[in-house]
Amino acid sequence: MKSLSTSQRAGLFAFASLVVCLLCAWLLFGRGTSPLQTDVLTLLPTTERHPLAEDAVERLARASGDRMVLLVHNKDDDAAKAAARELGAALGADPVFASVIAELPPFDLDQLVTPFLPFRFHLLTQEDRAALTTPGFDPVDALKRRLNQPFGANVGAKLTDDPFGWMQHWLDRQPWNRSALVPEDDLLTAHRDDGSYVLVIATLKGSSYDDVVQRQALATLERAEAAMTAKHPGTTLLRTGAIFYAASARAGAEHDTHVVGIASTVGIALLLLLVFRSLRPLLIAFVSTALGVVGAVATTVLVFGQLHLLTLVFGAALLGEAVDYSIQYLCARANAGQQWNAERGVRQVRPALLLALATSLLGYSLLAVVPFPFLRQMAVFAIAGMAVACASVFWLLPALAQKPARAPLSPTLVRLALGWQRIASGRRALFGVAVLCIVAIPGWLRLGHDDDIHLLISPPKALEAQTAAIRDVAGFGGGSQFWLVEGANAEEVLQREEALTDRLQTWVAEGKLGGWTAISAMLPSAHRQQQNMAALDPLFTPRERMSHWLGQAGFRADGISGFVAAYPGRVFTLDDWLAMPAYTPFRYLWMSGGEHGVGSIVVPQGQDDANLLRKAADGLPGVSLVDKPASITALFGRYRGYADVWLGGALALVGLAFLWRYGVRAAWRVLLPPAAGIVLSVAALGYLGEPLTLFHVMALMLVLGVGANYAVFLREGEPHVAHLPGAAYAGVLLSAVTALLSFGLLALSTMPALQHFGLTLLLGIGFTALLAPVSVPAPKNRIA
């Protein structure tokens, strides 16, 4: 590189930048699918020790993934039904929906009965099995009681196919017979005191997270809803589904990107214009920063294959740090006046910039170690962006800033900087820092902590309320707690699941649980089917005895022979279960064929106390409760603990770097501003009543990185501007204000994690910048 001239080097760099820009454009827009990711679930860390459990979490989340679940409500039954029909028709007309179910298709009750006939003797309810095996079971009496039930209404199988009602009892337990919604006028309806609710389900043609699908589907729904409410006043629409959550997350992130991105860009531009009083520095700073962002986007997409929208929000804030490098260079240029030489300028700022880059990279690489996809992506984004922005200062900017600056730094800023530098340096300042640290103690003592999952996922309350209302009326419980049952093979899984559901059965009787959804309620283990046969066998051996009983109870001979001949039928197998269309909606409960072995999911209803649910699995082999929110909360807490240690470690590393550069006597001074900045911001959080979260601590690491920069810039810059007291600090203040403008705006983010990040950085950078003068000896000319 040494042999290349400034312009040759800049040319090469510009060419490389162009290639990266093109690569970035291709990555973003050139391929069929957009790498922009809006699914918050992808941000969540893996928490479960077993990969099968993670698989299960994913499955359950996606079980209702690409569907809109809508509930039309009106006080008037006819209006609710008409509105639901029209809504269904309006949605069905749009090709973005693969299917819309409002009016049920013509449907044959036999479909839910006939396929079960060959298996009927193998499928018994727990109560029937118990009754059959009770000593003294009297088949004739059982038949008499069934045949003389009040009102009759033997629904389901024909009486001759099911004289004892065993099959009817079994079918009554199947999930479609337990729905809170009843088919009425060909619509799935629920009646409450406040009127009628009608279900409409729209399945998307594509993913809920696909930008195009999402927009089109939501726009169509909005139009259809408007038309529906206009025609049937008083109609309301409850909705739930991944698409609504995805859309709200996307809207939030987009809003944040716009606010943070635009506001910080405009703010920084105005500031640079005011300070440098010329357009060229502004353009130079923006070229450097823009290249940093482009490099960051390209690297992130290359590393992760995607770019999360929230990373982009954070990236928008990163502008404020990336612009620091060019600011330092431009300040050097402005301060040099007519003596400016672009190459000498680079040599002058290089040590400071490299040291600053090193401390920043240190901070971010610690973020990359945390096993959170979200933090990792942010770290990679930041590392790439910083490195490119810094490199552009070394290799590209000299060619762009050949001529000396037209005007020196704004004198007002320099005067302001000098004024504060005088106040905030020397012994008096050290005393002040000591006092501030004492004041900070009560703040530290007031500090609480919060590790809730809602830091990462905070869906709008209105949407949560609608989801809860739909769960209440329709009984769909898309919970995130469930039992995972594992086993060596399908049979073992089913047997273990039955051990669990037998226990749950008693819980339901005790009112501790509303119910559950599990595959073993549809597909008993082979072992249990054997037990069923063992319970029935005595009744059918010899078969003539059964025929005799049926005859005694009043059955005609032809019906009897058919029933007796059908015994024992076939074992109901997993393949039979998979082949039965009625069970298709419940396939998500069964996990096999995956790389992580065989397992099943049991979903509880009407109970969300994790401790109680965990007790249900006590002592049952292969059964464990998976509670994703709780796992994440625990993980947050654990890493918050680690992060404290890391912060200390990082502080020590930075201290070592300073020791190497500045020696024992000065190093502590340079380290003091960021260290005090951290102490004071934590205290401020305590006074503000903000509980400390993992994200606060992560932000403190950045405060350390950025704050150390300021001390370094000041320390390194001061000797070069001896003729201009205050100019070096003015450069630092400029950096700090740009950082505050961008990071501080994160505090306005809709996502709590980013908000905490922003607030902490706002406080930390503010304190550090104000304390930075401590790192150099007080300005000499005290009486100016």
Partner: protein, 202 residues
């Protein structure tokens, strides 16, 4: 012309008004004047699969707004309680046991009667087309399912009565026919402790 329209409008209003107290409302109104009723029942069931009708006898207690106790004495002893959508069995120890495999059809019919007599005919109207014939002193109500799905199973229900309900006939699409006739129907008088408890009557 305008006058003619106004005349027709007036006519329609009067016609509608004149229809308001229908026989159905009248009958239901009469029945609901007896909030607690006891009766003896005979149930006869015919089914194509059965060589001869099944007969059972017993007595019942019907309390509007609470439920029904169905006590079969013959050919077996059994007491079922239909209350708030659930079916329970009163065991020998006088305790209620929920019947998980209870017939949903039974509790639905019982629930419909309950809501009809409690003045909430909406539920029944949604499910059935109700027609009435006769006089308040001697009436017949026909319930025909409006829902095609229900109609595939249930052909219809017919209630007959005078001051009290005299009979219920349930016809299924499968050809099963259940006729329940009531005798010695009377106001229940005070409930026993057990009856009050199982029906939740204070």
């Amino acid at each position: 012309m305008r006058r003619l329209i106004a005349f027709f409008a007036l006519l329609c209003v009067f016609a509608a008004h004149a229809q308001t107290p229908t026989l159905t409302d009248d009958v239901l109104g009469h029945l609901s004047k007896h909030p607690q009723v006891r009766a003896e029942f005979t149930q006869s069931r015919e089914n194509p699969a059965l060589a001869e009708p099944q007969l059972s006898h017993g007595d019942l207690l019907f309390v509007i707004g609470h439920g029904m106790v169905w006590h079969t004495r013959d050919p077996f002893e059994d007491t079922l309680v239909f209350a708030s959508g659930d079916t329970s069995r009163l065991n020998a120890q006088g305790k209620l046991e929920r019947v998980r495999d209870g017939n949903r059809g039974v509790s639905q019919v019982s629930g419909m009667l309950q809501s009809l007599l409690a003045g909430k005919s909406d539920d029944a109207m949604r499910q059935f087309t109700i027609s009435a014939e006769g006089t308040p002193a001697h009436w017949t109500l026909h319930f025909v399912p409006r829902q095609a799905r229900v109609a595939k199973v249930l052909a219809g229900i017919t209630l007959k009565g005078d001051d009290f309900l005299q009979s219920i006939e349930v016809n299924l699409a499968s050809g099963e026919r259940t006729l329940i006739t009531f005798a010695n129907t009377r106001d229940a008088g005070p409930l026993t402790l057990v009856e009050a408890k199982v029906l939740g009557v204070p």
